[in-house]
């Protein structure tokens, strides 16, 4: 790993402390995204992994340079903001004591007479009246720091925050916060991109288009960077390619459904009667000024990897395979002997498709990626699971790949999907073994399991 995440320091560079403030969604993806970004952008960060609490959106992170922090902010969609950590404490007294202990010149560059500033209070998991917030600011022992600037609450040059963490259980928030942090804001993450690229405003979408936030997370985990060549073998309407192109990737996709790629199917928007003539993946990229990053999409059966000339073309493969719930999973059926297609049938013939078993989809995907990904390229894909039956032995393995991250997105009490990130760490050779799955999660079809209702246990205490 390029970015050491352990707390001990070996170098003589001085590491500064920063407060990372995460969004409260996709909690299981936070560290995986941070790790992937810091590695891809060569931005060193470290934190105490043992004290990391997934329920706490605040994380103290050390980094040797502010440039690293800016690079992380330029990519992360799970980080709200990063702050220069000035003081912290597990009680208000401790926080105030640590504010008093701050070096007197620490804030000099940010408290000059010609600079404006703002002080804000943000509480996690407890609502506090504005009046109390102002009291909290006034109570901060800041007088000795000598702020010479003037207050501007709208567009301040420098923004200072007092963050208070009141735990996770909103019904039992304590009177005093568990932890308080005081910091100067450095910048915001890419949360705004989620609105900017929202599917509601997307030209061409389908029933299973991936939402913008998760698409960005996938491109981050896949470490898509400037000039990466990226493939989505189940491209659909290309929502993953949009995020990959946003980060500088050049994008390609294959899709077995001719009608999807040519936007001839039924529209997915409820009020739309017919699809517009210019709906396409190319148009989606054009919408965001990314058309120069569009390579091609191909109508093809991704179970047939001989379609590609042998070469490790791709830097990243990102995909959301069809689970057979909202989109059917299909491949072309091989003909049986009694089934002959005559010449005059050919012109208007649609090949018969057969069910493409989910297990086979994943095995084929890993075998394909092992061959066509560059060494150290990444494969990122969704893997649907019935939560009660899932175990790690369900995840497909391949001798060329190392599992990097496995993050769960719960969809209901019963069903979840897991975002699997794998890195190709060994080159593919002719005698490389094929992909395997130790325990098949999809025996008896995922669709069947998905729609299967648990038998209700009769309530015995209920008088009948």
């Amino acid at each position: 790993m390029a970015a050491p995440m352990k707390p001990q320091s070996l170098s003589c560079v001085s590491w500064s402390k920063y407060l990372f403030y995460f969004a409260s969604e996709h909690l299981d993806f936070r560290l995986a995204e941070l790790e992937a970004i810091s590695q891809a952008t060569k931005s060193e960060v470290r934190f105490d992994e043992e004290s990391y609490d997934v329920k706490n959106p605040f994380l103290v992170v050390e980094s040797p340079s502010i440039e690293c922090i800016h690079r992380i902010l330029s990519r992360s969609v799970l980080l709200r903001s990063i702050h220069q950590l000035l003081a912290q404490g597990t009680s208000t007294e401790e926080l105030h004591e640590n504010v008093r202990k701050m070096p007197k010149d620490l804030l000099d560059p940010y408290s000059k007479p010609d600079q404006t500033f703002a002080m804000r209070v943000e509480t996690f998991n407890k609502k506090i009246p504005q009046k109390v917030k102002i009291e909290k600011i006034k109570a901060l022992p800041l007088a000795e720091l000598g702020f010479k600037g003037t207050v501007d609450l709208k567009n301040p040059d420098n923004e200072f925050h007092l963050f208070e963490y009141y735990g996770w259980d909103c019904n039992n928030a304590p009177d005093e916060p568990y932890h308080s942090y005081f910091g100067r804001k450095i910048g915001e993450g890419q949360r705004d991109r989620i609105q900017e690229y929202h599917l509601q405003k997307r030209h061409f979408i389908g029933n299973t288009s991936m939402d913008a936030g998760l698409s960005f997370i996938m491109s981050n985990l896949a470490q898509v960077t400037q000039n990466s060549l990226v493939l989505d073998p189940f491209v659909g309407t290309g929502s993953l390619l949009v995020s990959a192109a946003h980060y500088g990737g050049y994008v390609m996709g294959t899709e077995i459904d001719y009608l999807v790629l040519h936007a001839k199917g039924k529209p997915s928007r409820s009020k739309q009667k017919v699809r517009a003539i210019d709906e396409s993946i190319h148009a989606n990229l054009k919408q965001y000024g990314l058309e120069s990053h569009y390579i091609d999409v191909i109508v093809a059966d991704s179970s047939k990897q001989n379609m590609w000339r042998d070469q490790s073309y791709f830097d990243a493969i990102i995909t959301d395979p069809p689970y057979g719930i909202r989109e059917p999973a299909k491949k072309i059926r091989a003909a049986t002997e009694d089934y002959i297609i005559t010449d005059d049938m050919k012109d208007c013939h649609y090949p018969q498709k057969e069910q493409y078993e989910l297990t086979d989809i994943f095995i084929d995907l890993l075998n394909f990626a092992a061959k066509y990904l560059q060494l150290y390229g990444r494969l990122v894909y969704w893997f649907p699971v019935i939560r009660a039956q899932y175990s790690e032995s369900n995840i497909p393995q391949h001798p060329c790949f190392k599992l990097i991250a496995n993050c769960e997105q719960p969809l209901s009490m019963k069903v979840a999907r897991r975002l699997i990130t794998m890195e190709k760490i060994h080159p593919y050779k002719d005698d490389t073994a094929e992909a395997r799955i130790d325990i098949d999660h999809f025996q008896g079809s995922f669709r069947q399991k998905y729609f299967h209702k648990e038998k209700e246990i009769p309530n015995k205490t209920n008088p009948s």
């Binding site: 400037q226 000039n227 060549l229 050049y250 390609m252 077995i256 001719y258 790629l261 040519h262 190319h282 058309e291 120069s292 390579i295 091609d296 999409v297 191909i298 109508v299 093809a300 059966d301 047939k304 990897q305 001989n306 379609m307 590609w308 000339r309 070469q311 490790s312 073309y313 072309i332 059926r333 091989a334 003909a335 089934y339 002959i340 297609i341 050919k346 013939h349 090949p351 018969q352």
Partner: protein, 127 residues
């Protein structure tokens, strides 16, 4: 469809076909679309390509003028070559036409810029 993509595709998916490469191109509509010139991307791409197939494709499209038959050794520093490669690989778009298997002549139609590589049931090989 771009010649970059053409460079990657074979017809070895057809039962019995061993050397379905490069695919012949019979185009009825070709356009040139402006794509931002990015020499770094082209430089990264070139070692992965089969340049003789790029040249053949350019000949099929009547766009071979100025496209060398073999790749320049000094391609990384040869600005003229990189610009030629950029144009032929990324700016030339086959909108309508067919790709043809060199062994069997099986046609794969290109419609509205999108190639269709699907086979019929009696044509597919196992892999």
């Amino acid at each position: 469809m771009k010649l970059l993509t053409h460079n990657m595709l074979t017809s070895n998916i057809i039962k019995g076909v061993k050397n379905g490469y490069p695919l012949k191109i019979a185009a009825t509509k070709v356009e040139e679309r402006e794509v931002d010139y990015n020499p770094e991307f082209i430089t990264r791409l070139l070692p992965k390509l089969d340049w003789s197939a790029v040249h053949k494709g350019a000949v099929d499209l009547n766009k071979a003028e100025g496209v060398p038959e073999s790749m320049m050794d000094d391609y990384e520093s040869n600005e003229d070559f990189l610009k030629t490669a950029h144009n032929i690989l990324l700016q030339v778009e086959i909108i309508e036409g067919n790709l043809e298997c060199p062994e069997t002549g099986r046609k794969f139609p290109i419609t509205n810029g999108i190639p269709n590589m699907l086979l019929n049931e009696d044509e597919v090989s196992e892999k």
